[in-house]
Symmetry: C2
Subunit: 465 residues, 2 copies
Amino acid sequence: MPMRRSTLLAALLLSSSWANADSALSEQTLNATQELKKHAMVSQHPWNILESLTTEVGPRLPGTEGDVRAVQWAMDKFKQLGFSKVYKEPVKVPYWYRGSAHASVVAPFPQPLTITALGNSVAADVTAQIIRFDNLDALIQADAAQVKGKIVFIDHKMERYRDGRGYGPVVKARGKGAVEAAKKGAVAMLLRSVGTDSHRFAHTGVMRYVDYVDAIPAAALSNPDADQITRMLSRGEKVEVNVKLTSENRGEATSYNVIAEIPGSDLANEVVIIGAHLDSWDEGTGALDDGAGVAIVTGAAKHILERGLTPRRTIRVVLFAAEEIGLVGAKAYRDAHKDTLDSIYIAAEADFGAGPIYQFNTRVNESALDSMEIIAKQLESLGVKLGNNASWGGPDVSILPALGVPVAGLSMDGTDYFDYHHTADDTLDKVDPDALRQSSAVYTLYAWMMANLDEELRPIPLPKQ
Amino acid sequence: MPMRRSTLLAALLLSSSWANADSALSEQTLNATQELKKHAMVSQHPWNILESLTTEVGPRLPGTEGDVRAVQWAMDKFKQLGFSKVYKEPVKVPYWYRGSAHASVVAPFPQPLTITALGNSVAADVTAQIIRFDNLDALIQADAAQVKGKIVFIDHKMERYRDGRGYGPVVKARGKGAVEAAKKGAVAMLLRSVGTDSHRFAHTGVMRYVDYVDAIPAAALSNPDADQITRMLSRGEKVEVNVKLTSENRGEATSYNVIAEIPGSDLANEVVIIGAHLDSWDEGTGALDDGAGVAIVTGAAKHILERGLTPRRTIRVVLFAAEEIGLVGAKAYRDAHKDTLDSIYIAAEADFGAGPIYQFNTRVNESALDSMEIIAKQLESLGVKLGNNASWGGPDVSILPALGVPVAGLSMDGTDYFDYHHTADDTLDKVDPDALRQSSAVYTLYAWMMANLDEELRPIPLPKQ
């Protein structure tokens, strides 16, 4: 990547305005930024894109017919929106079939329970006594003799925060709970839902097996059902539960990363990636996760296109495949482009609901932080503040910083996000149109400015692994 | 019923205090009322009763094992709480088996839908085109040729009010929609849920067939699903849906009205009824509908019992059977006691969630309204205002005013009630313990004062039919 900034600086030394703090963005770019802001803040594009995806496709789990239709929808939508360069790149994805999920208390107080299979779980038809743990660590420390033959119930309650930091501490039990339970001879694992709501929805999400431990079935209980079991256990009696799942792993299928570009001008070989993931869990219509992201970044590029603006760098919208089942599309993208990752100027992904966006974080060379301030200043009137330089950039692009790729994270208000996350209740009515519009406006300005910024972002501070 | 008030007035004419507006309640009664208020406002009884019912019994649809267990629970609970007179009266109830309910859009945008069978519905496995109506009247006015062979979708949105008055205009489509659709040759009826929420829960509730029209299956769509179908239809394409129900009517079963009494003293043959219904729909645990009512009225009587107070009239707690499927227990009660209905001094039922109670309505002789003001004055510090004299007294006692029985209605704040009503989401966590306590306190004072009031409440203004 050429040292453009220094070239410009040299040129500016000849002019009177060389010390202008805004020098990393030309006046023309800044004027266009203002125009874009006005345009994006009244735009219907993000909502219309989201409405279209959630209505016409709906659920789109990798490997299913819905995912195939989502890929076709994305190709069609990009073309319909007028992008000149639209293509897709194949991704091998595991196909997990959900089937049905039923559970009930058999004794002492017979009644049905609301559960959902965790993604990747094997089938089940098992009746056993419940043994409850406060969290994954308590299970790991438990005496195997107490666990053997029982259904492990991990009752770790998620806390609500704007930035979603309550997720990390509890989600590890979703991923590893079944393995740790199986190590001690459990016959199934029931997880308190990783979610902040108190509605009768169980939150799904991917879990993992390891080769050296038996695969036992894994499901999530809705939060009210977790409370119900805890109340039953508090009476000191044995609680016996039946769990039936007809889930199965059905091999591999092909999905696609779907991509649209606005070709750049003099720096066309450098790419500003704005991404989201196209797949979704299958019980809702994936409105917040991640239809909103698809709408935000696609809308952002459309705004630039619609204004007839040509960025210096190429703006690339990447709709990743199969994020939910382990960043499968992101890894395929990384592998397919491993020889040209240095052409990625910066990457960001919108995958945390509909917003609004309140903070702009980055992972760029420290010498570029003045330029990040310049960008942040343009975002200020949209309610966005400059944050830190320790961003991971969003799930699908989080694997790029380790390879030297700069990333940005536009933090969305996720206060309510985990009320709906991975449930049947993740539907269009949960999206605030104004928040969605603001988020897409922020991405519009962000992408436009990044594509025109006169700054070197590399080498980045490498993340600690 | 003796004209006690006039007797008392005669006696009071001899004293200096005869004109005291509080004369309908003795000073002793008023002192005890104050004591009861303090006691009830810190009581754990209502919550503990509700926690016990929803945890240990859970769903209790008439005819099911849950209903049998609920009856036993109520008998046991009354005895455990120390009521000296506890009994049950048999009620023949229809047994409707819910089975499973699935629906999906077949074309043009295949995806699953969230539905629930309406109570009493026949089974279904039908695929047909959707025809949408704004409301029941629009269906009634429709051309049969347009409806024949299709699935009727009635999309009438319920409005939210504190007093629940949004229910009436929409619920008639639940009761009669299938019959009206069948008259025009429809093959099934899908109803937008009668509920104020926007969650992926369908609201069940009873529907009716008539002998002279074919019984077609009837189910409710969750509100987000109703919106989804409307969006699909707005694209101008035919929308084809499959509906599968395995419901069936399974004949009759026996349930019970379960009753506990605090015997009165000098007016023991007169009865103050405070009721609720013991049955519930089967997808939630019937916490708001009507576990809360059970807890409120049972707790109220317990408070009086616990203070060692003896009312002049008998206080009778009636937990009605099978309210949800058509006031079946209430009608059985009326019929079983048809010769002694004039012994009912006044009746009220708590069946609108957990409260708080904000208004005290009555249907009593107009000459007794001064005494109602006296009672209302005692409720004022609990946040309750005197309302009107046109009450129906709550569902199960609503059939009594036509037979001359005075009723009272303690209006509960139902702003959120229809968010959960008749859904799987009607669980204990939806109940506000403070509201529940206040409601039970109001019933405590109400029952105590009515049981000691020196007033003639009959004849009542007969309701217009």
